[in-house]
Amino acid sequence: MILAEKDRKSEEDALEKMTKMRHAIETVDLNIYYGDHHVIKGVNLAIPEKVVFAIMGPSGCGKSTMLRAFNRLLELNESTRIEGDVRVFGKSIFKMNPIEVRRTVGMVFQHPNPFPHMSIYDNVALGLKLNKLVKDRKELDKIVEWALRKAALWDEVENKLHKPASALSGGQQQRLCIARVVAMKPKVILMDEPTSNLDPISTKKIEELIYELKKELTVVIVTHSPAQAARVSDYVAFLYLGRLVEVGSTVDMFENPKEKLTEEYLTGRMG
């Protein structure tokens, strides 16, 4: 009896599972141009819901660009052009109001960006207040506490909610940004290299946080560290020079990648 049969089957199962699951984000022949520069080339990706999906690849291969297309943030830059479609839970984001897209699909950035002139409380409440999602002060208090707990920051700031956000450390600021996004109760959170600028302990805290978050929503994380993708994600896509090289379950990809290019990247033989 060949055990290999079981191996192959489990791989197929994982991929089949991935295609049959409900898709939080789907791209259909996505092409992105920066002026004349063709940055993302014909990417077809299907990201299942309630998983952590990593997008890894060497720097400058378009990962962050693609991520910003998912919440229509790319449009802020006038020199970008998008072809193809991106769908969130089946609906094309280009048929939706960008504001609505961004409320469903939140984003955390590489450089923590809590608004420094606002208090910790106000930062978390900002989206809710300005989008008029919550009117009652008591309810707002509850949501702010809930969001800060979800971001594993409540214990550290509950006594200083009215201090300015700039008083926090880098790792705390990033968790504050996560709380700010979580408060809006999005269905998907995009994370663009969220721990690149943080120390190892903060990184670890945030990775654990991501593990908890995926119970309720989908996390798409772009990372330039394959090790992080391995630690944190359930599924991973390898993007190289704007093309999708391989996608699959993290376990399979890291034990036995199918593409030679993926193998070279993971074992550090690239470049």
Partner: protein
């Protein structure tokens, strides 16, 4: 080659000495002015006491009286000019920062630069033409309008710069929360830029508090009446100095020195804190 080294060192010292002399001579006039004004104005203030600040102008040849109307006038004109000019200027600055690539955005930026250097007396003439002449008299409104026009480009440009200097990550972060462009600019970015915008406003105010040319044909000047109404002439310290210096009476010259000292003090009181509290001031 020791000799050539000695020569080079000497040349360098000479060069540095030369630069030092030139620097001092550039700054010297400022200190001379400040010293002269202080030397001539302080005795006047001491002689006049509180009355100098609260009283009205003395008759020619007799005593000091006070420059109260001019002080109040400066204040009224500055406030009015701010009310008229600041909102428009800040909004202009915001537009230029948010739409830098549009035709209007680019044109605005250029035009603002031009307005900053524009001869202020021409501004005064323009306002005279459209306000003073139809109204039939000098007025506070006219004076305030011309000061507003002088003030606006500074405030607008500072606002524009302040907004441009906000790191891109905050802008992205605000949009990513699903806020409309209006809310992003007015509820988040303005807050972040407020220090720069305040600087622009204070600089604008400091500038127009000491402007004379725009007021020559618009405000009219008032020396004995504090405030007669928006459509009536009003005084201002620089205008008063201009008017008094041309008079032949020595007491008027003394009053002019006192007024100059007051003007200098007001200007420093606004300008020094700005300069000291900020690390960079553009323009």
């Amino acid at each position: 080659m020791v000799d050539s080294l000695k020569v080079r060192l000497f040349k360098e010292k000479l060069f540095l000495a030369g630069i030092a002399v030139l620097t001092v001579s550039t700054v010297l006039p400022l200190f001379h002015i400040m010293f002269s004004i202080a030397a001539n104005g302080v005795p006047v203030l001491i002689k006049g006491g509180w009355g100098f600040i609260t009283g009205t102008l003395a008759p020619p040849g007799g005593g000091l009286g006070g420059i109260g109307p001019a002080i109040v006038g400066t204040f009224i004109l500055t406030v009015l000019a701010s009310l008229m000019g600041l909102p428009v200027a800040v909004l202009t600055g915001i537009y230029a920062a948010e739409y830098p690539n549009s035709l209007i955005g680019r044109a605005t930026k250029t035009l603002l630069m031009v307005m900053m250097e524009f001869p202020t007396i021409l501004v005064g003439l323009f306002v005279m033409d459209i306000v003073v002449i139809p109204m039939g008299s000098y007025s506070a409104i006219a004076g305030a309008l011309s000061l507003a026009i002088v003030m606006m480009p500074y405030v607008a440009v500072y606002t524009d710069e302040a907004l441009r200097n906000i790191p891109q990550k905050y802008r992205e972060g605000a949009f990513a929360l699903g806020l409309t462009r209006f809310k992003v600019v007015f509820r988040v970015l303005i807050g972040l830029a407020r220090k720069g915008i305040m600087t622009g406003i204070l600089i604008g105010i400091a500038k127009v508090a000491g402007e004379t040319a725009p007021l020559l044909f618009t405000a009219g000047g008032a020396t004995r009446v504090y405030f007669a109404g928006l459509n009536r002439p009003v005084g201002a310290i620089p205008l008063l100095i201009y008017q008094l210096v041309q008079q032949p009476y020595t007491n008027y010259h003394e009053i002019a020195w006192g007024a100059s000292l007051l003007l200098m003090l007001i200007f420093l009181a606004i300008f020094l804190p700005i300069r000291l509290s900020l690390k960079e001031v553009k323009l």
